[in-house]
Symmetry: C2
Subunit: 358 residues, 2 copies
DNA sequence: CCTGTTACCGAAAGCGATTTCGGAAAACAG
DNA sequence: CTGTTTTCCGAAATCGCTTTCGGTAACAGG
């Protein structure tokens, strides 16, 4: 299926060269600051290039240089879920940072019936990208496994459980949830339930670890039925809360793996006529703007997702420019944002009820 | 600044040709289904290509063909705001649709101090994209003005006020808000206030038109101070609601330009101790999942943003493949999603108070 | 058996840059 | 004024693929 060739009417280096009475090679070297071109000539070429609106064809340049200054980002396959705000923010930051280095951002979706690694492999083989950013890492992540042996620069937002021979930027999720627990315990809570996410996702695992270790450290009651896993959206959160409200030893606080889950939980609690922030405290994680808009405001551990996107972009470009340099591995902290959803427990409930089975 | 040439270790057509004992040209034509290649040969080439994992370099292919199968999407400059969920959904749908046609999606941000048109211009001149999708159109949109005379295929999500000689896909915002008003009036409301967005954004303008015309048609009270403009986020919505609550003739319902605004309004109302869905009804627009998670659930006009993204992708690719064909101009309808935030007005308030100045 | 088609494939010329290599002109030294 | 460096630029090869243009071999018809 041969196609037509709709040649763009843009200026080529040949035209620019003819216009200047120079050879293409000279023009090219002038624009790329080669030392063997007279400064006067460089200036002349620059000026003409500006006037004619010349921009080198990135296609031709890529072919000649053999370098692709484009970062790939594969959107997680949507299994009914919608793309979450956290990813959107990362993308925004990433695009912004890449623009500053004159790199491009290629966003790819995973078609039905394919998987992420397949998509990445095709992007690499067809020479469309020169690096990757991987978001929302899993404990055991095939994407990272693949990229590790692919010779291509990449940065992971998050970490995996096993290997550590690659660049990543992660939030200290464990510490964040320990902090959150400290806050709750400091407020007087001892009966704290946990709405966790898919433990395959490393952040969910890490947060759970933080919760569990802090609960132990503080000697919190941990009756069975206090810890949920696999809560990934608002609806799941509502169901979990419904369960929880039937619990003989009702918790006074709820720690949630994400803001979305926390908001779902708050909704469910409000629906059940329970006053959030009063009868039950809730803490989330993310720092979504929405957390400020709901009632009561959501107390949460905030992470600067836009900044994460930017930093990740910076790292991947740096790595592409200096392949031999050691991997950046950066750990950032989340910060506690206090709003109305977490307060001291209601007085009547401050009894050390006999805990159930852990 | 000459760079190194880190040649990828991928298979080239030359290697494949040598491996097969054929010429490069023949291999190329075989893979592109030229009619003058024996079917047997095509099959043989196909097989070998699969086995060797050959993928043609898109860079070389682009250079040779002079066609760039990439759609550009410029993220709106973030003036403190965060990227909204609606855009994220569109992106997701767009990427998915493009993947099916084997097109790529290039997402660009606007660096500080530049504007969107500049960014688009550079993307075109440097040959990085072969088409554009423009989202969130303004009534008077420089991006559309620019693209109209740029000879490059593009699709606008939304419309502009003036020209109509380009492809677009829009929601019938005016009708949607008339429908919303009909719903409110049907419930018994007559005193309805409006929290509108930036009227430069065409959807905000259209929705406002819908509100105003329906209000007139139904003979609703329209005292001054009932219509707000420029409400773009939750905080602005809160301030507007604060104003509104001081109004001598308090409205019984609130129509909001977006879900985000509606959620901000609900928050403000709840904060003021007013029961949403009871004392005051609220309706939004978008159909964000969050609207289902808040309490009470948000009654809203839903639009299928993911589908919009897909359709827009389909259109732009179609247009790129058949440049001469007429512009697709598609109008979709939003659908009313009823939840708890809009109900008949409280009985005591159902008095036809004397309206203020319109 | 000879000629006219058809069916297939090879050769070669781009596409628009980059980069190496070498040579002419200019600058410097003696 | 000649010989040697520098400076600066042109020529040409390349990157990997597409596509046009012939040309050979096979096949048909007479």
């Amino acid at each position: 299926m041969p196609r037509v060739k709709p040649r763009r009417e843009t200026v080529s280096i040949a035209q620019l060269a003819k216009h200047l009475g120079l050879s293409e090679g000279t023009v090219s070297r002038a624009l790329n600051n080669y030392p063997d071109i007279a400064k006067k000539t460089i200036a002349r070429v620059r000026k003409a290039a500006d006037e004619l609106g010349y921009r080198p064809s990135t296609t031709a340049r890529r072919l000649a240089r053999g370098v692709v200054e484009t970062i790939g980002f594969v959107l997680p396959a949507r299994h009914g879920h919608q793309i979450d705000p956290f990813l959107a923010e990362i993308l925004d930051g990433l695009a912004t940072e890449l623009a500053l280095s004159d790199w491009d951002l290629l966003v790819a979706a995973v078609p039905e019936g394919h998987d992420e690694v397949e998509v990445m492999d095709r992007l690499i083989r067809s020479g469309k990208v020169g690096g990757f950013v991987v978001a929302r890492s899993r404990r055991n992540d095939p994407r990272v496994d693949f990229l590790r042996k692919s010779q291509i620069p990449f940065v992971v937002q998050g970490r995996t459980a096993k290997y550590d021979d690659y660049a990543w930027l992660d939030i200290d999720n464990e510490k964040a949830f320990i902090d959150a627990m400290n806050h709750l315990v400091g407020l007087g809570h001892r009966k704290i339930a946990y709405l966790g996410g898919d433990p395959d996702l490393n952040y969910a695992w890490q947060r759970r670890e933080g919760f569990v270790s802090a609960a132990k450290a503080h000697g919190c009651d941990m009756p069975s039925g206090y810890v949920f896993d696999g809560i990934s959206d608002e609806m799941a959160a509502r169901h979990a809360v419904t369960e929880l409200l039937k619990h003989p030893d009702r918790p006074t606080a709820l720690l949630c793996v994400t803001d979305a889950v926390a908001i779902g939980a708050i909704h469910a609690l409000a629906h059940a006529g329970i006053k959030v922030g009063d009868e039950i405290s809730v803490i989330g994680f993310d720092g979504l703007p929405m957390g400020e808009a709901i009632h009561p405001g959501l107390t949460t551990m905030s992470q600067a997702s836009y900044q994460i996107g930017r930093e990740v972009g910076r790292i991947v470009v740096a790595q592409a420019n200096a392949p031999a340099s050691p991997f950046s591995q950066i750990l950032w902290e989340a910060s506690l944002t206090i709003r109305g959803s977490a307060n001291p427990p209601a007085q009547k409930s401050v009894t050390n009820a006999k805990g159930g089975i852990s």
